[in-house]
Symmetry: C2
Subunit: 248 residues, 2 copies
Amino acid sequence: MKDTKVNAAILIIGNEILSGRTQDTNTSTLATWLNSIGVKVKEVRVIPDIEKTIVDTLNVLRKENDYVFTTGGIGPTHDDITAESVSKAFGLKYEIHKEGYKILESYYKPGEFNEGRQKMIWMPENAELILNPTSGAPGFSVENVFCLPGVPSIMKSMLGGITNKIVGGEPILSKTISLKTVESEIANSLTKVQDNNKDVEIGSYPFFHAGKLGVSIVLRSENQSKIDECNLQILKFVNEKKIEVVER
Amino acid sequence: MKDTKVNAAILIIGNEILSGRTQDTNTSTLATWLNSIGVKVKEVRVIPDIEKTIVDTLNVLRKENDYVFTTGGIGPTHDDITAESVSKAFGLKYEIHKEGYKILESYYKPGEFNEGRQKMIWMPENAELILNPTSGAPGFSVENVFCLPGVPSIMKSMLGGITNKIVGGEPILSKTISLKTVESEIANSLTKVQDNNKDVEIGSYPFFHAGKLGVSIVLRSENQSKIDECNLQILKFVNEKKIEVVER
C-alpha cells in the first residue's frame, strides 16, 4: 500500500534529552500541530550536539520526508551548532542574516546586541526567517527543513508563523473509545474489526492512572465516515461482551 | 576523538507517540537509569507500528550500539508487532516461549489464559525473559536488544531485573549550576571554559518556569575532579560578572 500522505520527520537536537535530564515535550506539540494541518509524522530522532551526526541525520531525513522540523541548538552558546550544521548539510555558506540582524538590533536596547546575541543570526545563506514573538531571536528554514528553538514555550509560539508555509494533505481525524477492560479481552474482536477496516488505523492503548484501569482504542483516518463505521463495529462487540465504555 | 563509552540506542515503537496523542516519558526514564549504570544514550528513534520499519531500524541500531532498548508493541492486540519484528530482524523463529507460557499460565486464574494473552508469550526462539513484577507478561532480550513494554509504570518496574545484564562503563557524573542571567551574557566566557576543559561536556540550557528566568549550566564527565575544576572556572567568571547563582 503506497502511503500518499504528506510526511514529516522531527529531529530533536540536544544532549539534555539524551541524558534524561530534560523531558522532551516538543515532539507531541509538533505532532499535534502537524496532524491538524494534514501532515503525518513518520519518524522522530533525538541526537546529540555533534556536528557530523546532525549533518548526516539531516541529509537522510530531508530526502525521505516532505518536511523536517528540528528543535534545539540555535541559541548563543558554544553548544548551539544547529545553524552551522544545517549550512554544511546543504553545502551553503554560514553567514550573518541581514534581516535577522536588523530584527535583533532593534529588539535589544542600544549596546546590548553583543557578540553572543549576534551568533543567533548566523544562518545558512538565503535562509528564510521564522519570526519569534516571544524572545526575539528568529528560527529559519532552508528548503523543506524548519529549524526551531528547543525551549518549548518559545518553540510553540513560533508555529503560527509557519503554518502557511506547510502544504498538508487531508487532516487526520481521530476518535477515541475508552473501555473498562483489559486488552486481552478484546484483542481478537479488535483484530477482526481492523481486518474489515483497512483504511482506518486502529490503535489499542492500555491505561493505568488516577485509579482507573482500562484500554483506549484510537481510530485514525482522513475519512470521518470510515471512522464512524469502524466505531459502530467496535461498539457492537463491546455491547455483546457487556464491557463498560468509560471517560478516560 | 574516539568515544570509548558504552553506548545505547532507545527505540520507541508506537503510532501513539508519533500522533502526539501520548507524551513519551520512557526515554527520560531509560536514559536516567542507563546513565546511572555507565551507559550513554547515543540516539533515540520513535517509529510507527510497521514491521519493515521496525526490522530495518533495529538492524541498524543493534549494529551501531552496544545495547538497544525498545519500548512498546509487546501486548496482546493486532498492533503489537514488536516480538514478531524482532524475530525477523534476527532471522529467528517466532514461537511460544515455554518458560513464559508457564509464568502466565500460573499468573492468570484457570480458564483466563486465553488466546489474546497467549500472544504475549510468542517471542523470538531462545529469547531471554525479562520478568514483569507489575502485570505478569514478560519482556525479552535477544543478544544486545532488550524489549520492554510501552506503559511507563510497567516498563520502569522491569529495569531492576536487567541491571545485572548490562555491562556499563564509568558512571557519568554531572553538576548543574543555575544562574539568574541570559545565555548571551555568558556565552563567550563559557566557550573559553569549554575550550580549557575538553573532557567535560558543558551544556547551557535557558529556563523559563515558575516565574523564574535563567540559565542552567550542566557539566558532565566520568571524572569528578575535572567537573570540580570546571565548576571553579565557571564560578570565577560568574563572580566577576556579579551574576547571581540561584536554585533551579
